[in-house]
Amino acid sequence: MAEQPGEKKQERKALAVFLCTCRDEIGRKLDLESIAAELRNDPRVVAVGVHEALCSREGQEYLKKEAKEKGFERVAIGACSPNVQGLIVTRALEEQGLNKYLVEQVNIREQCAWVHSDKKKATAKAKSLVKGAIARAEKLLPLEDIEIPIKNSALIIGGGVTGMQAALDIAAAGHKAYLVERTDELGGRAYKLSMTFPTHNCGICCMQYCKECVFTPKIEDVLQTKNIEILLNSEVEEITGGFGSRHVKVKTPKGAKEFDVGTIIVATGSKTFDPKRIAELRYELDDVITTQELEQLLVAQREKGGGLKRPSDGKVPKTVDFVQCVGSRDKVKGNLHCSLVCCTYAIGQAREIKRMNPDANVYVHYIDLRGPYRGFEEFYQAAKEEGINFVRGRVSEVVPDKGRMFVRALDTDADVLLNIESDLVVLAVGQEPADGSDAIAKMLHIQTDIDRFMKDINPMFPSEFRRGIYVAGTAQGPKGVRYSIEDAKAAAASAIDLMNKGKIKFPRIVAFVDEARCRGCGRCEKACEYDAITIVKDESKGVLTCKIDEIRCEGCGQCAVACCNKAITVNGFRPEQVEAMIRALAEEVMAHD
């Protein structure tokens, strides 16, 4: 491909190649010296170096020294993944004044040394990859990072435990927090719990000192913090803009409210599984209830006293059956995922019932008991000692029979079919994404998982990759109260860090338009998921042309493919750059056939 018109003719300056033996991880599987020897004869290359660890401090000093002495401008590196250690290596070269956009790194460790046992073939492949990197590095263009200003206010979607904690932290750091909650009260589902487990302490009041209770005083705290603007009965309608400055439209009972924020914390939470979807569990019966409803009975009991009463006739139940994994670990009628918290809270509730009525027969029907919390095992052992019956096997059916109720289940350990006459059946319902979370994910371009929970970007990546949007709490997937709060704190910390800085540099791997070639057809605008492209009319020339908002652009390249004229290309991934690499890869292979 020829150069784009209007593009400065690049003077091709020197190029260097560095290969990393990765302390013999690569070195013993590939013959790097033979590659280096061949490249030393390559007229395009002024320096070839083999080092044992380019990402080490010595490695970086070595790179800097080489750059200083040999004066090269472009670098091709054969080492490990450019996504992680590559960033360290590039930084070293940048410190020496090189433009980081002229560095191309290929992964000869994960893609050659570690996956191909034939040394000769692996070496040949590594050589072709390095030659590909050289070909691409030659075509790269020097660029500067984009500087993005960050507004010092935050939107928090969801006023549950996660949202409240994030709002508190952000407000405490001196930034304005808008807390949007669609119901008429703060606290979310956690507010309705009678207590939290496995600590067996109270959940809602602050009448007594609870060491583990991280939740209780929060609502008052939030209400009294000046920097938090609470919008109840409100829903986020529209979010536009890009990283650092997003315009938010919220529908409130008093009408629409609009404001700009620099960061967003998504704490939309989860909802519980609707047990009606599993007909054989007979949720329509008065005495088949969910664990959520049991919580309310427990709260009522605490207020009125007199032990737990069942809904149908107010009698104290003698036999109680807990059905685990309702809607969880069930690909057919529910969700594949494990909801993580149900084992813990069901055991907690079972123990509560047993505490109130030691004569009660309490069964827990489970398939595996999973409690990834500190103290869970002790909690479970205590429950067994207290006489709670743990039965392995899923409940197949609840059968009503003339006012009586039978639970049919197999005890798979004993291989006995059970037909227990039960007074109260409690369904341990799992968690699903909250209603409307799809819309929020779409609005913010958050990737969702197969189970529709939102995905947060791998924390291994630099924090700015999240573009000021953080998913916290059960919006990410099932989680306990405590872990949700920790999540909120981590998200808030990242958001605060960003807002404190006030601006951030971001890689310019974004779409670029060559206006002379742009026909203004608008296919790019249609292809863009981020509203980063607008077609504008150039009145002086009487033509339409496309404008790219570099801050909104995520660099995915949908527009570039849609552009039939290739007026749009993505920096660092221009067709001529990619093609140069591929041709070099293929040519090297053919040369050896």
Partner: protein, 546 residues
């Protein structure tokens, strides 16, 4: 014994799932064949068809695009779009005879390392079983051209095209459609620069690629300078230095044409032929279809564009006149686009193949529905090969002949009530001098009103893009203006014989335009298709589209 075939596989992996899954396979030391070469891209949806074709042209035996799981794309819809695009590309592969199993999409999440290794391993096995691509892909070292050689070649070109006679009157510039919008462009100055021996910049001279080669300048020149031929020659010279046109579709179309020239594929060009059409393997009349079926696969997402209708119409009209045309599955691209973008060697390969093919069929007459194919056979093939032993005939002339001889009867032509105009394509009009037959045929549309555009016959403005090589903002202006001109005549339809004019003009007015859409609200239709509809040989289009 020869070494067993080991395929080269290019794996495009997205940054978020494909690439990390490969890295994880590495961390877990899951072995897979070393034939895989991974190229990281941002999103599976950013993999250009042109880049994929380029990979095949330059050595890849298989290409696999690996992205996030469906409905789980990091960029919302990239993988879905990739799937759609690659499915369409597989259809193109089927037509050109490149096994579509060589191109694959796979959706693998970042954690599915074993799936990555297994998938690529299976793909290597599959492509290995398919064997090597039957195409000459060896890179030929070209001897560097010296300045003296270039100066001599350009001088020869000046003599051949009569450019030496240029008296600098500037008539060419005043009629040049590009110069109308681009004040820096003038056919005259390109010639002048060359005459002064300024050839240093030939590799970077964009002007020689900007020309539409529409021959408006030739037609106006008082000294009969062949500017268009001069430009073509200059492109050939520039190509010696590695310069290429900035091609539409990222060079995909040219790649396909070069592969046809260099390769020996079992093509599948005749998928559009329906059972009730009468066609033959040998006979008097050969119908040279050209690349129309290819374009339908390439422009799969363009609303209302069905170039195969042209082929179907041509055969049905011939059948109605009692002619059973020869169709060949082994026909190759005529080479027009390569010829006009400086690739003479591949052009000649295509030419030799096509001429041989037609000779073998025993045909004495070759009919073309494509204006470019016609010009290429009639002028370029004959220039290079002398007498062709068969007569190239354009469908407009041919239909006229069939009507005149009474073979094609118009008794059952439908009564029409629309007004229409005719767009003279540059390849048919100025290049080949066919002006009267289309206008005679227009009379067949009884009841309809035929109106001429202001710029007609040798003054007709061209569709602004030739050989897919010079599309830009100015091209769009020319195209939009041309359709406005057609609308201004009061016509409901704008007929044309060149499929590429149709592609380019539709492209210009289909999406966003800088004028009121009512100004370009005219139906663009191929003339042959309109004839077939007139004779009820093809159903009317269900919905009216521009």
């Amino acid at each position: 014994m020869t070494k067993p075939f080991e395929p080269t596989i290019i794996a495009f992996t997205c940054t978020w799932c494909g690439y990390p899954s490969a890295s994880l396979a590495g961390v877990n030391k899951i072995e897979y064949p070393p034939n895989i070469r991974i190229v990281r891209v941002m999103c599976s949806g950013s993999v250009e068809p042109g880049v994929i074709m380029d990979a095949f042209e330059h050595g890849a035996d298989g290409v696999i695009v690996i992205g996030c799981l469906m409905d789980n794309c990091h960029y919302v819809s990239g993988n879905k779009k990739a799937q759609e695009r690659i499915d369409a590309m597989k259809k193109l592969f089927d037509i050109i005879g490149l096994d579509s199993r060589r191109l694959r999409t796979e959706w693998i999440s970042a954690s599915e390392r074993a799936k990555f290794a297994k998938t690529v391993g299976d793909f290597v096995d599959e492509v290995r079983a398919l064997g090597p691509i039957r195409m000459d892909r060896a890179r030929k070292e070209k001897k560097a051209r010296t300045k003296e050689q270039t100066v001599a070649a350009v001088k020869g070109l000046i003599d051949d095209t009569g450019a030496f006679d240029c008296v600098e009157c500037g008539k060419c510039t005043t009629v040049c459609p590009i110069a109308k919008f681009d004040p820096n462009f003038a056919p005259r100055t390109i010639v002048l620069r060359a005459m002064e021996g300024i050839v240093d910049n030939i590799a970077h001279d964009r002007d020689i690629w900007t020309c539409t080669t529409c021959e408006q300048c030739n037609a106006m020149c008082p000294y009969k300078v062949d500017y268009t031929g001069f430009i073509r020659g200059m492109r050939e010279e520039a190509a010696e230095f590695g310069a290429t046109a900035l091609c539409s579709q990222g060079g995909l179309i040219h790649s396909v044409q070069r592969m046809m020239a260099k390769g020996d594929f079992r093509q599948n060009r005749l998928g559009w032929v329906k059972e009730d059409m009468k066609v033959a393997d040998k006979g008097e009349v050969f119908y040279f279809v050209g690349c129309l079926p290819h374009y339908d696969a390439i422009f799969y997402d363009r609303e209302g564009l069905r170039l195969q209708d042209i082929c179907e119409s041509a055969v049905r009209i011939m059948n109605k006149a009692g002619v059973v045309p020869v169709l060949s599955n082994d026909e190759k691209c005529c080479g027009h686009d390569l010829n006009w973008t400086g690739d003479e060697s591949n052009f000649e390969k295509l030419m030799e193949h096509n001429i041989e093919l037609i000779k073998k069929s025993g045909a004495k007459k070759v009919v073309f529905t494509c204006a470019e194919c016609y010009r290429t056979f009639k002028m370029d093939y004959q220039d290079l090969m002398g007498n062709l032993e068969f007569e190239p005939v354009h469908i407009s002339d041919y239909m006229k002949q069939l009507i005149d001889t009474g073979q094609l009867k118009l008794d059952d032509a439908k009564k029409q009530s629309f007004a229409f105009t005719y767009h003279d394509s540059c390849r048919l009009g100025r290049h080949s001098g066919i002006y009267s037959s289309p206008r005679d045929l227009a009379k067949a549309f009884s009841g309809a009103t035929f109106v001429e555009m202001e710029n007609n016959k040798d003054k007709a403005v061209c569709c602004a893009v030739s050989a897919w090589a010079n599309c830009n903002a100015n091209a769009k202006k020319i195209q939009v203006d041309r359709v406005i001109e057609a609308k201004r005549t009061g016509a409901d339809r704008m007929l044309m014989f060149c499929p590429k004019c149709q592609v380019h003009l539709r492209c210009a007015v289909q999406d966003k335009i800088p004028v009121d859409p009512a100004m370009v609200d005219v139906k663009l239709e191929d003339f042959t298709v309109a004839m077939a509809r007139l004779l009820s040989l093809l159903p009317e289009e269900a919905q009216s589209s521009k």
